[in-house]
Amino acid sequence: MQKPLDLLQGTLDMLILKAVSLGPLHGYGILLRIQQVSKERLEIQQGSLYPALYRLEHQGWITSEWGASENNRKAKYYHLTAAGKRRLQAETESWNRMADVIAGILSTRPEEV
């Protein structure tokens, strides 16, 4: 099995927004969803999730409310706000552009220069 990748600086926020955009989740659920969707190929320091969540909520991109978890315990659920949705869109676009550019550069062969 391949060694999991460390998260690129600044991408955690985007992943959280994406995870939450698929449906309201609690913090642990967000972690699981990212791992599940990435097929366990990303390594996320569990604790680092929370400052990011607080930051996103502070900025108004997600909101939270208390609800019951699957096994009926109190958990804090996050969901995307309208502003968060726009933000996710913008970030996705800029990430894709960036990825294209980087991929283009990296795939350059000597004769193309």
Binding site: G27, Y28, G47, P51, E57, H58
Partner: protein
Amino acid sequence: MRLWSCLRSWLQAVLRRSRMESEMDAELHFHMEAYAEDLVRSGVPHQEAMRRAKLEFGGAERVKEECREARGVRFLETLFQDIRYGLRALRKSPGFTFVAVLTLAVGIGANSAIFSVINGVLLKPLPYPHPEELIDLHLTAPGVNFPDADPAPFLYFTYREQGRSFQSVGLYRWNTQSVTGLTEPEEVQCLNVTAEVLPILGVQPALGRSFSEKDAAPGSPQTAILTYGWWQARFGGDPSVIGRQIMANGISHQVIGVMPASFHFLDRDAAFLLPLQFDRSKEFLGGFDYPGIARLKPGVTIEQASADVARMIPIALHNFPPQPGLTVKEFEDVRLAPKSRYLSQLLIGDIGKTLWVLMGTIGIVLLIACANVANLMLVRAEGRQRELALRAALGASWFDIARALLMESIALALLGGALGLALASAAVRVLISMASSHLPRLNEISIDPAVILFTFGAALVTGVLFGMIPVIKYAGPRIAHELRGGGRASSHSRERHRARSVLVVAQVALALVLLVGSGLMIRTFQQLRRVDPGFDPRDVLTLRIAIPETQVRDATAVIRLEQGIVEKIRAIPGVASVGLATVIPTERAAHDLIYARDKSYAQGVPPLRLFKFVSPGLLATMGNRLIAGREFTWTDTYERRPVAMVSENLARELWQDPSRAPGKQIREDLKGPWREVIGVVNDVRDNGVQEKAPAAAYFPLLMNEFEGDTVAVRRSVSYIVRSKRAQSESLLADVRQAVWSMNPNLPLANVRTLQEIYDRSLARTSFTLVILAIAGAMALLIGLVGIYGVISYAVSQRRREIGTRMALGAQQSDVMRLVLSEGMLVILIGLGVGFGASLASTRILSSLLFGVTATDPLTFAGVIALVALVALAACWIPARRAVRVDPVIALRYE
């Protein structure tokens, strides 16, 4: 939108801190438990699962800290932490804390007290709706050398009919009324108003109705509105008083209303309000006896209103007939002009400047206190140098340390502020009782939210001010270097002492400024006491009795009754003499023109003079002196002889030499008979000791053909009683008995001693003097403690050096000189700076001074000597202690 969500989450974080904390705990806890459960499900033993869950989560505390930071509350958190830490540090050194907090509390409290006076008197708006639209319609008459004149009914009608800038105009007048038929006859203050005055003020009676146009129409039945206080006192607050009749000056008035308890007008209490009834068809030019009030139309400035009045004055002069004996030309020569001002200015007068001077003074005291506390903080910070350096070495940024130090100062200052507020509320009560006679709007002075805000604002500024000094000194970027120095060795350096020396220089300089100020006030007070007021205020009782026409109609009978009362009072044991006068010093008095027969008045009217109507024997009773001629006799009075007396300055002005005045002739208008000047009276400072004596004319109480009246009699006169028992209640009881034996319906009003009146005219000076003296004494005391503290600290730091010197053979006198010279150098610099600052700043005081210049050399020399002496004493004690250092002990101490 985003800003709002940030703000909301920040506010939640700040205001509901504990809730946020517990939620954060619950959330992280849930995460770890859920993970552990998943691990258990995949076969990990329970204990191991919990351990791994915690481990893989990472440091929970650090995560929480980062969460708080993400919400932008970390700064506040550390701030609270710093304050808590600061308070704990202060608790650990109670002695230092006690001295510092007390010093600050006195400084801040004194400022709050003065500020609450300024707030109540100057800053608060008048308690009427839109007070900025209310103006006082004052006039000036430069043509007769009369700077302050009130409007007259003929102007009131003109303003009402032709005014463009007023919503409404009204006249009012204060007078006294004798009320009979309730209990004892009572002489009360009464406010007469035209129907517009209450609507202009925006005040409605609490009970009943306001005055209508009809109430103010001539010939209408008389009505009255009671004030709340008098209604409570005389009618026990009985609402059925509406509709009842009260007898005032022998005329029956129907009560139509009661004013609310909150109603105050220009700081004077009245028992009731009566409507002024003017008959437009009978008004003439003259009668400038009614203060006027107006409400401006919205947006109209006071300048526009003045221009409007200036436009209307000539119109008015041609719309009404002149007063009998005068011509329109003469009224034009008076050159009436508007002198409008805001109602608040009329009420506040010129006390503003005095109050700001006092505020500045007390502010300086706070600065001196600040310097002291800063000194204490410096000493403290020096002792903690190694601790601070250690914290820096362990990773605290210099900003963190600076903030911690500053928070300690601010915590100290806020404690001082809280205690200061308590001191201020006590001080305000003292201030009010001290200043009750001459401070306007006393009932508005209180510790209100504005004062509380001011107090804590002042505390905060103070804290930052004295907190910055140790911060700059010890928490600078170089802080880590100190760890090597080991603290004590470096504290000997001169550089170390410089900050404290600068503070001492500032303290000495500021104390000098304050003391020079109070010195000048003391000299002013001395000069005022030395002024001859022209009368002898000791052992004189005065009271006023008015004889209404309803009691005695005939003019001669009035004089007979007045003379009868005089004789009765003189018969009381212990009474030396009794006299009557229409006006006593500092009372508002009538002014009119004086024409001399041997002068020409072709080029215009003469200036207005003070008119006094007096009885025989008055001059001796008041302690006035007759410069030339003789005074009136009762025969002059009863026979209505055309005689008069003049004041010395008037005699000099008209005829150069007072001795030439007797035999000259004067009159008060162009038609009246000439009156022979029979005497010259010395100048009397009737407008207060600080003011020049006005030129005055004296007339008998009963005359023919005076100011247009066929018979002129003075019904309301002051009885002036010279007696060794003037201060005693028993004399007053005897006088009352004497009066009522002549006529039981005559009330006694305005009972005062001449001494009270005299003292009151000095009251503002003595008030300023006392505050300045307190400020000066505080400054001196705080400064003394400051100098003493710095010098004795310096000595204690140099014990070893001094011990070494003495071990090597230095004499006690050498050591003494060493310590003293260092202290005196600082003090001399302080005196020099203070001297310059005093020269520059005492000019502010000059309007409060009398008979002494703002740069009075005697005061300056005296104060400098005093401060130098006190400072020397403050150095002397530590110097003595230095001399007593036992070299052996000092060296072993190491």
